[in-house]
Amino acid sequence: MLGLPDSVWAGADKRSPADDHVAYGGFHASQDRRHLLLPTLHAVQDDIGWVSHGALNYISQRVPVSPAEAFGVATFYDLIATEQAPPRVAHVCDDIACKAAGVDRLLDDLSDRLGDAGTVVNGGMWKRSPCLGQCEKGSAAFVQVAGAQNVVLAPVSVEQVVDVLSVATPASSVAPTPRSDTTLLNIATTSLEDFRAAGGYHALAHAITIGPGGVRDHIDTSGLRGRGGAAFPAGIKWNAVAAEDGQKYVICNADESEPGTFKDRVLMEANPFGLIEALTIAGFAVGATVGYIYIRGEYPSAHSRLSAALIEARSAGFLGNDLLGSGFEFDIEVRRGAGAYICGEETALFNSIEGFRGEPRQKPPFPTQAGLFGRPTLINNVESLMNVPSIVLGGGEAFASIGTGDSKGPKLFCLSGNVVNPGVFEVPFGATTRELIDLAGGADGDIAAVLIGGAAGSFIGEDDLDVPLTFEDTRALNIGLGSGVVLVFNTETDMADIVSRIAEFFAHESCGLCVPCRVGTVRQKETLLSIRFGDGDIVGKLELLSDLDEVLREASICGLGQAASVAVQSALELGLIGVPE
């Protein structure tokens, strides 16, 4: 990745006579190659299982970047170990969807068998992990394996964890995800041939026929809004980037980390070529020559399928210098996240690709003006992009005829928790929460609350189950649709535990850049714990939570902090927690 060192200053063993008197490098070289820092850290982590100080120093010299900066980046990510770790580390999900499905029993058993999380046994170790995006399975483990493929076990048993920690090259074991096979998931293949036979790359060919402006017109009239949570009109973004000059980038945000969300993983695993085609069309439409897919580190299967598909697409001429004889030049690189929820925030994602700590930037400037490497950048979520081929082929108006007033097209929802058949379900916009639960075979038990939109979303109660899950209807309810999470909790669930877990999630994932979030998320977690386990004075603690909510919402610089208290406050309003006994 970094090539061979060309001097003793860049890490060569022996000094050449010229090395005595001249060295090239410094700040500009660091700017050119800094984006290789995280891939390099990954490479060492993958091979050795942790990044020693010696390795970190060597990487610093080779990139080059100062050791302190490299340390700052390495320690930012959960999946990069900077202290000695055993060759196999199993990250076992203890997040809300799995909790609803009863994972606590599994975790207790694991503690009994292997010692508390963090204990090294037989060359392996287990840790507790935030949501791994395998929510429909009810339990999951992501296993980092030094010198071999990382694997996923979902669902997972105690026996499987014990086994996987003692096997040098374990294999993944993942149950298929129940899902609809309508519009967005109508193609499911990892073969380019099958993909083309099913109509793949027709959309790109048509896009080239109608030209970039024609593509953007369709996106504009389709009314497509971003599916990553912010619901921003795609047409506005695409036109804004197209209007800029010079080097531009398109990015697929595949850092799906919102607890309870797994639709993007299902899309990428089922149809990697579909995403590549969609991103290629986006690059064509806005005039970008380089695309990135930033995929969360806990998705090894989606990552390997996309990587393989990219190689195949490139050798078949669907990426490269002259796509389909159009003269259009475009290629895509896959980048792997390393266990940081914040990197799903678009500007944090840019920083992560660029080799900095994945901290968000101040906006403006917006990505359409100054995004990746300071250049105009179009960034869309996986699901948003996967709508593009059908919009291009069927036309913007046809797409706009699906759905409701402000919410156009098909939408994927992630059903998990206490439902009979958890999975990914596609509906035209307009379905209610109750209808979605019915699609998943109905609730398992009596519904206490449903979490809409993930940890950054809100709890709703029985009274609101018939509200259509559209952008406009959820806005009227003063909640956000988020990433399409419908997480059902039945009356058996310890809601105080669930809400505390959400607060703990934000305290853990806060990047620490701004004080309201860094301090506020921790205080929120502590206060919830003291309500749960503490003595009397609940009124004062509720006031404190309300103050923290205001500070987090008003003063945090990015969406993480701004949303960190939303679920907690909705749980309080519904009386799920904080009711004096």
Partner: protein, 492 residues
């Protein structure tokens, strides 16, 4: 950013290109760069014609200084010298910044002049963003010069030989100012040796440890009839004094001003009372003057400053109120409605020129005074480290995680050929003396080049080794180039 430094220091690691010249070859580099700029047709002809004089003589003078010659003298590959010449000449704006690596040589002034020639060739002077920038090691070195702490200058850089200027001061001060320049510190020590200087009053300086060839310096200080030291610490020099005046710390215990490297005069405010008997410098000087029979009134720092403003035209417009309001002002600032001066020498670009054009100077490379030979084959250069000031008086009392202690830095190759390991004590000798010091292995050095910091004279006195050759024009000593021999210690 280019860094020219014999060592690949931490700053050099940030440079796009580091040029590791041999110690004392600065003028060879400058002249080779100048010749390359001329031969590559990169001279700013318009500027040279309009604003300078002596170009033809200069071009002829540097004609022999080819890139190959430059490589031979400096050790730096010709290609890297060429890049420096081209990038400097072509840059829209460019600055030459330097510190003691240029000035602590026996030919310090010539070193600086050779850099000025480059700025004149390219027009990188007198314009926003371009210039020549001697960077100061402490916050108020420039302020010392501003206030006339130079043997030939009155406050505001007015010449003591200028009758009109001197007369102005004499009228205000009610005393006679000598019309002849005084001695700089190196000359003072020579005068002590000749028996012409018998008493000294030292304020805030520690020559017993900071002078080159400290053995001689201490001997001369001991030979004085009377020594007075005014300092914030009981330095080694103060310990030798007949009388010590404990002084308040400049930046936290007194009111006043300091001038930064960019000529910006800023207010210094008192935050705490000085400890014990320590007093503000103004109070000490006033009390001393009155003991000597004068009748000075007690004055605040602002009153002293306002008097200076009546005498130094470049400071005249800088009232405390304006310094406060504007967060400092850059001199010259002659009137209270003057905004201060962002950069100097703008007149070079005026048409017609208000003064004589700036002259190129002809300077030649000469090797360091202390030659390398078979007996002393290794070049020792001295300097500072990030966490410490000078002789360590102000910084030695604090712990620092990056302090290296008193060590000699040598390259891995040197260590291998000496058969010594990190931390091993070695004997370092020069033509003047011998010290024992532990080794630290540093990749920033090469075979034949070693480095010592000057901060721990109580542990290892590096100035036992250095020679006291000094630049007759600036008075700075050649701390940067000493010939030494390193010997592994045998038997314990």
């Amino acid at each position: 950013m280019y860094t020219v430094d014999p060592r690949r220091s931490e700053s050099a690691e940030w440079a796009d290109i580091w040029l590791g010249i041999d110690v004392g070859s600065d003028i060879a580099l400058s002249n080779a760069v100048a010749r390359e700029i001329i031969h590559a047709g990169l001279v700013n002809t318009e500027f040279v014609t309009h604003s300078t004089s002596g170009f033809d003589e200069f071009a002829a003078h540097v004609e022999p200084c080819t890139l190959e010659w430059g490589e031979k003298i400096t050790g730096v590959p010709a290609e890297a010298i060429r890049s420096l010449a081209h990038d400097y000449a072509k840059a829209p704006t460019a600055q030459l910044c330097w510190t003691l690596g240029i000035t602590e040589h026996h030919n310090a002034t010539d070193n600086v002049v050779s850099l000025i020639n480059l700025a004149l060739l390219t027009g990188h002077v007198g314009r926003y963003g371009s210039g020549l920038v001697p960077i100061r090691g402490q916050n108020n070195v420039q302020g010392g010069g501003d206030m006339g702490s130079l043997p030939n200058k009155l406050p505001g850089f007015q010449d003591v030989t200028d009758d009109e200027a001197r007369h102005k001061f004499e009228q205000t001060w009610g005393t006679t100012v000598p019309a002849e320049p005084g001695w700089h510190v190196t000359q003072m020590f020579d005068a002590m040796e000749r028996g012409e200087l018998h008493a000294m009053y030292i304020i805030g300086e520690n020559p017993a440890q900071s002078e080159a060839d400290t053995g001689r310096a201490i001997e001369l200080l001991e030979g004085l009839d009377h020594l007075v030291v005014q300092d914030i610490f009981l330095t080694k020099t103060a310990a030798m004094a007949d009388v010590v005046f404990p002084a308040a710390v400049g930046w936290s215990e007194t009111e006043g001003t300091a001038t930064s490297s960019e000529r910006r005069v800023q207010r210094i405010r008192k935050a705490v009372e000085p400890p014990g008997d320590a007093l503000d410098d103004i109070e000490i000087l006033t009390m001393l003057a009155n003991e000597l029979g004068n009748e000075w009134a007690d004055q605040t720092a602002e009153q002293v400053w306002d008097e200076l403003r009546t005498l130094s035209p470049m400071h005249a417009g800088m009232s405390y109120a304006r310094l406060e309001e504007l967060g400092g002002l850059q001199w010259p600032c002659p009137t209270e409605d003057h905004p201060g001066t962002l950069f100097l020498h703008a007149w070079l670009w005026e048409d017609p020129m208000p003064r004589d054009p700036a002259a190129f100077s002809l300077v030649d490379w000469v090797p360091p005074i202390d030659p390398l030979d078979d007996e002393f084959p290794v070049r020792l250069t001295t300097g500072r480290r990030l966490d410490a000031y000078n002789t360590g008086v102000q910084s030695g009392g604090y712990r620092s995680p990056i302090r290296k202690g008193a060590v000699i830095d040598i390259s891995p190759e040197e260590a291998a050929s000496l058969d010594v390991t990190e931390g091993e004590l070695v004997e370092v000798s020069s033509r003047r003396g011998t010290i024992e010091v532990p080794v630290r292995i540093s990749h920033g050095l090469r075979r034949g080049l070693v480095f010592m910091a000057i901060h721990s004279p109580d542990d290892v006195d590096v100035n036992t080794l250095t020679l006291d050759a000094w630049d007759p024009k600036s008075g700075t000593a050649e701390f940067k180039a000493t010939a030494v021999r390193i010997d592994k210690m045998t038997g314990n």
